[in-house]
């Protein structure tokens, strides 16, 4: 199939895994997914320093400002003279970071350093910079992050590499067979998370890299006997962490397929709770009765596997019309092929195409799952979740059905909610 240059395409006519061609891009103002600033703040006591030009800096520093966390954020602004003189970029970066750290009341134990595209393109000697900084501040761990969006269309994204860099500083601890750690995700396990619930019920100590109270607790992740990652952007870092510490990793994003959920539970040595299966099925049936043929739209920011969700909804008789996404995770190939065969009219809709720049209020009630779907559909009836919301398994399905029911019954203020950055983080703007 040819790659489409249109804003939307029926799945039967689409190509895998890239349904849409690259072109000029529009950016919808929905920002609930976590960015690199939010992710960095998940490490307690860490201070973030960005070294970049004004315009690039503005987005991240205002993220910090809106979190009410400017006291853990500093910057070194690059100017033309940093580009034009040999060695000036290294000097400005090294001396700028040094000056920031000397001005702080106390040198932080962890500093996350974000050089940018320019450092890469100018061949900046970052190793020398880190060596110098580590000599000057021997008690500080420097996390080697990057903010280089120019790389994100090929290879790994800044988000993936930041998660890896944050896991790189976790020291190897003595293995505690009673401890399991969720790593690489931003959303903590929700009420409807079968893995977390069963681990706790079995008396297992569960750590979560996104929610530790102290740096000591964050470092204690290195004692976990098993790691679980439920978010694709965290997979690479989690795999490297597990390999380094020689412990098993289970990569298990929320899936809506019953057989796959059961297989994953068995892989973890957990039970398949028959009543949980029944509860999920009942909740699904009740929701179907309530919303009947109401059109539904979903997007890729809501859940890690949107095509799995799409298949689930369609197989259960829901009137799913549109999936908003720009690419398809290769892990979703089976669901993609199934949908293409059994539900060929399903619409795949790009979120960055030049044509759609304003929400158009729908003529009929549309239920959306995810902020981008809500924005593009212009609907106030939406499930406000990102990154899977910590849901997993049959409990996750039951909770999602409950969230859909609430969303169907109670409209939300999209203008207030959707532009806020980092769902679940502090957001202090007016």
């Amino acid at each position: 199939m040819p790659i489409s240059s249109d804003k939307q395409i029926k799945i039967k006519d689409s190509s895998f895994p890239k349904p849409f061609s690259n072109g000029l891009e529009f950016n919808a103002p929905s920002h609930g997914t976590w960015n690199i600033v939010h992710i960095g703040y998940a490490v307690p006591s860490a201070h973030q320093i960005y070294i970049c030009a004004d315009n690039c800096l503005r987005g991240v520093v205002m993220t910090a400002a809106e979190m009410g966390a400017l006291d853990r954020f500093s910057s070194v602004v690059l100017e033309e003279d940093d580009m034009l003189h040999s060695g000036r970029l290294e000097e400005s970066t090294t001396e700028g970071i040094t000056e920031v750290l000397r001005k702080l009341d106390k040198v932080p134990p962890v500093v996350i350093v974000f050089p940018v595209c320019v450092h890469k393109f100018m061949g900046c000697d970052m190793n020398h910079i880190y060596k110098t900084l580590e000599e000057r501040f021997p008690d500080t761990k420097f996390v080697r992050a990057f903010m280089d969006p120019v790389m994100q269309k090929r290879g790994t994204t800044p988000d993936q590499r930041l998660r890896k860099a944050l896991m790189d500083i976790i020291p190897e601890g003595e293995e505690d067979r009673n401890t399991v750690a969720f790593v690489g995700c931003d959303m903590s396990p929700a009420k409807g998370n079968d893995i977390n619930n069963q681990l706790i019920n079995k008396g297992i100590h569960v750590l979560d890299s996104a929610r530790t109270e102290s740096l000591e607790e964050y470092y204690s992740i290195g004692s976990a006997s098993r790691f679980i990652c439920c978010y694709p952007a965290g997979r690479m870092g989690s795999e490297i962490l597990a390999r380094r510490l020689r412990r098993p990793l289970y990569y298990l994003p929320m899936d809506f397929n019953k057989d796959r959920i059961i297989a994953a539970l068995e892989l973890l040595g957990l039970d398949v709770d028959g009543s949980a299966v029944t509860d999920a099925e009942r909740a699904t049936e009740e929701l179907k009765t309530l919303i009947a043929d109401t059109p539904i739209a979903i997007d890729y920011t809501a859940v890690p596997r949107p095509l799995s969700l799409a298949r689930f909804l369609l197989e259960n008789g829901f009137n799913l019309k549109t999936v908003y996404l720009d690419g398809i995770d290769p892990d979703e190939e089976e669901d993609y092929n199934f949908l293409k065969e059994d539900f060929p009219e399903l619409i795949l809709h790009s979120t960055i195409h030049i044509m759609d720049r304003r929400p158009v209020r729908p003529d009929e009630k549309v239920l959306a799952i995810g902020q981008k779907a809500a924005w593009f559909e212009g609907t106030e009836y939406f499930v406000n979740i990102v990154e899977g919301a910590g849901l997993w398994g049959f409990g996750g399905i039951e909770e999602l059905m409950s969230l859909m029911k609430d969303a169907y019954n109670t409209p939300k203020d999209i203008r207030d909610i959707i532009p806020r950055k980092g769902l679940g983080c502090s957001s202090v703007y007016e």
Partner: protein, 348 residues
């Protein structure tokens, strides 16, 4: 080192400034930059995104195209979008990587004009300046490419207005063209027929100078209280420890107005880039957090965006004047109509 910001945010950057300046003029502004970079603009630097459509796009530049200087894809993508969206003109804005590799934007605009038949122009940005430079460059480039002599009118032109500086400010009086906030292309094209230009921000000066030279239109600098078009620099002010921090034309206008109304002297601490000829001897230009902090060290009173509290002396009398280009959405509901001074100046 004036490049170091321990705690203070930077102002909106020049690329966002350029996009903001042209937002309402019916063109297509393309920022040659990687994916993700435009979310800064639509999240923190633009108040109209929900309500007023505009063709602001990024090229989605990737590393290979940047390294190999692959301009063909950039040109093809713009032609495709122009064919679909039918803009009135095309404006191209630069960013750090194309700036570093010396992308020939002027050459690209010539190719685009031939291929699309639309007026195209280049805005000299590189993401390393503040918004005032970007707004200024955008208005100047627009004027050079788009403005032609127009029928004479009695009204004046407001020049240099964007929501970055004048988020909730409304100008009254006989206005021929507002360039360019709460406006449209048709009215802006009538600008050369006006009798007077009023530069309401430092970003409007470049366009006013150009229009003076090309169309013979004189200009004054300053906010036009009571529809009186006076130059704020004509009001003499002496040194004091009362400071107004921010963009120089707006800050200078407020200082002049306060001098006239109260007899008190206020000095401007200009914290945005374009200041040439805009400050009185008692005023200061500051670059970077440390310089600003030093300039405010002896302050008795400060009128500034609330974020400047972070570096202000502890017990200073502080009057909050939220500025969208500094604090973005943080205090947006408190941004006043600058023409209603009683909204934001108390007990001065």
């Amino acid at each position: 080192m004036n490049k170091v910001y321990k705690i203070l945010p930077v102002y909106t950057g020049d690329v966002s400034g350029a996009a903001s300046a042209l937002y309402e003029l019916g063109g297509m502004t393309v920022i040659h930059d990687p994916s993700g970079c435009n979310s800064t603009y639509n999240t923190h630097d633009e108040v109209r995104w929900y309500d007023k459509e505009s063709l602001i796009y990024i090229s989605g530049l990737n590393d290979i195209d940047a390294i190999t200087g692959n301009d063909d894809k950039f040109i093809e993508d713009i032609c495709y979008a122009a064919g679909k969206m039918k803009p009135k003109f095309i404006a191209l804005a630069n960013s750090p990587l194309p700036y570093l590799n010396g992308t020939d934007f002027k050459g690209i605009t010539r190719i685009l004009e031939k291929k699309t038949g639309l007026p195209c122009f280049y805005i000299k940005t590189n993401a390393m300046h503040d918004y005032s430079k970007g707004v200024s460059e955008a208005f100047l480039s627009f004027a050079k490419r788009m403005l032609e002599p127009a029928e004479k009118t009695a009204g004046i032109n407001i020049v240099g207005a964007t929501p970055l500086d004048l988020t909730n400010t409304v100008f009254e009086g006989e206005i021929n063209a507002n360039i360019a906030y709460g406006t449209d292309l048709e009215s802006v094209l009538k600008a050369p027929g006006a009798s007077l230009n009023v530069a309401v921000t430092s970003a409007g000066i470049g366009m006013c100078e150009y229009m003076k030279e090309r169309f013979g239109i004189p200009y004054v600098c300053g906010l036009p209280w009571d529809s009186e078009y006076k130059d704020y620099r004509d009001v003499r002010r002496g040194s004091s420890k009362r400071y107004i921090v921010g963009e120089p034309v707006i800050s200078g206008s407020i200082a002049a107005r306060l001098k006239v109304l109260t007899g008190k002297d206020y000095n401007v601490v200009a914290t945005t880039e374009i200041t040439e000829g805009l400050l009185l001897p008692c005023d200061k230009k500051c670059h970077g957090e440390e310089e600003i902090q030093r300039a405010l060290a002896d302050a008795e009173q400060i009128i500034a965006d609330p974020l400047f509290r972070l570096i202000a002396p502890k017990d200073v009398k502080f009057t909050e004047l939220p500025h969208f280009a500094m604090s973005g959405r943080l205090y947006r509901k408190r941004i006043p109509n600058l023409m209603n001074m009683e909204e934001y100046i108390h007990e001065s």
